[in-house]
Assembly symmetry: C2
Amino acid sequence: MNAAFTLPPAAATAGSAVSASDACCRLCKAFAESQTAATRVGAGEEVFLEGEEADFVYRVEEGVLMSYRMLGDGRRQVVDFHLPGEFLGLEAGVEYSLTAQAVTPAKVVALGRRRLATLAADDVRLTRDLWSATVGAYQRSQDHAAILARQSATERVAAFLLSYARRIGAVRDMTLPMSRQDMADFLGLAIHTVSRTLTHLEADGLIAARSSRQVRLMRRDRLMALCP
Amino acid sequence: MNAAFTLPPAAATAGSAVSASDACCRLCKAFAESQTAATRVGAGEEVFLEGEEADFVYRVEEGVLMSYRMLGDGRRQVVDFHLPGEFLGLEAGVEYSLTAQAVTPAKVVALGRRRLATLAADDVRLTRDLWSATVGAYQRSQDHAAILARQSATERVAAFLLSYARRIGAVRDMTLPMSRQDMADFLGLAIHTVSRTLTHLEADGLIAARSSRQVRLMRRDRLMALCP
DNA sequence: CGCACTGTTGACGGTCCTCAAAACCAGTGG
DNA sequence: CCACTGGTTTTGAGGACCGTCAACAGTGCG
């Protein structure tokens, strides 16, 4: 019985490439069988708040969400964006350590943590899924920290574009659902810097922008060269 | 049976304040009963390497270690320092995502992951300990990311000094076992900036330095005021 | 049209990185 | 004891990068 603590190869191959959906077989099943109706949330609405008692875990059905924390000086640190199939609130303690907010209109399904714990107690594979989803989140957090620690504005923006494109499966064209401010708070930059950097990337022909949120990746190779 | 997934209040109260030893009752016991002799590692020696198969979990008995990853451009990102009583390698996938290296001469005890998994399968409290230790590491990683994203050099250094003092239980005087370069790679700064910031803090009377690694916190209040 | 909001652009200044050199420290060997 | 060596730490000067302030453009909506 070593399954619970040892990750399956698939979920552990690569830091930031681990999507929560890679490790959802049992976890998805638990949601599917929970009989809970999906909840609609409008853009800007919160699903749960930092500091609230963490009674539920959520799965994104539709739309895009983001999770953030407010810092002491009133600034906001966006921790991650969450796409359909991914989970929210898994790695909370008794309280949520993050606020989860809808970026676009979205649909989420809730599952009680007590119920999930009961299920996990009888199902080693579910326990393993929970474990691997949490480990994935942890490793993504470290990738993020590494970017924030050392990369320049251009590198951060390029890394973000590529990473987001990969996550939504976009090859050339994509829609960025989040505002410039959201991107800035995710990348640890000022909104002006994000904007400037994007126009600069466009001037250099690495990307093309139909509108401010419609981006086409023109030179993926050169963008990748910017992400060491 | 909701114990495995729900954290006990003690372990979840505060992000960066969660020391691994807060959540070790069963986990420590597992190590104590493992009959494995402690391994000595000299300063600078590695306990495990990024990319290696993660077959063991370690507990620090003596000394200080640090974990880091190498970035694409050859830079090093120190993820954390590890004090006696804390665990290493818990949150690994099949491979370690970090390299663990001794900062000072140290003693660690190893425990096989397969063995730990076997124990955890029969012991809900142990499973909960594993969970809460991992969640703790995740939340510390996010605290760290927030600092890297937004704080100035002075704020980073002040936060580091206070956080390290708290972890080792120092009130006024403390010895920093790590080099300036280690601190710099942890804080996402150049070594020169760390050095300059420390001399500046000393000039302002917030700290006093007997030697470069012997620091006394003179004005804890003003240091804390620097950490928003 | 006016208004509110989001995004872009320019000018300027501060912070922190880079480059370079000096001071300090521990250990080694003459 | 002193000179020499390799390492770490400190200090200085200069400049790039990015945040701040300010103004302007674009968009959607009443």
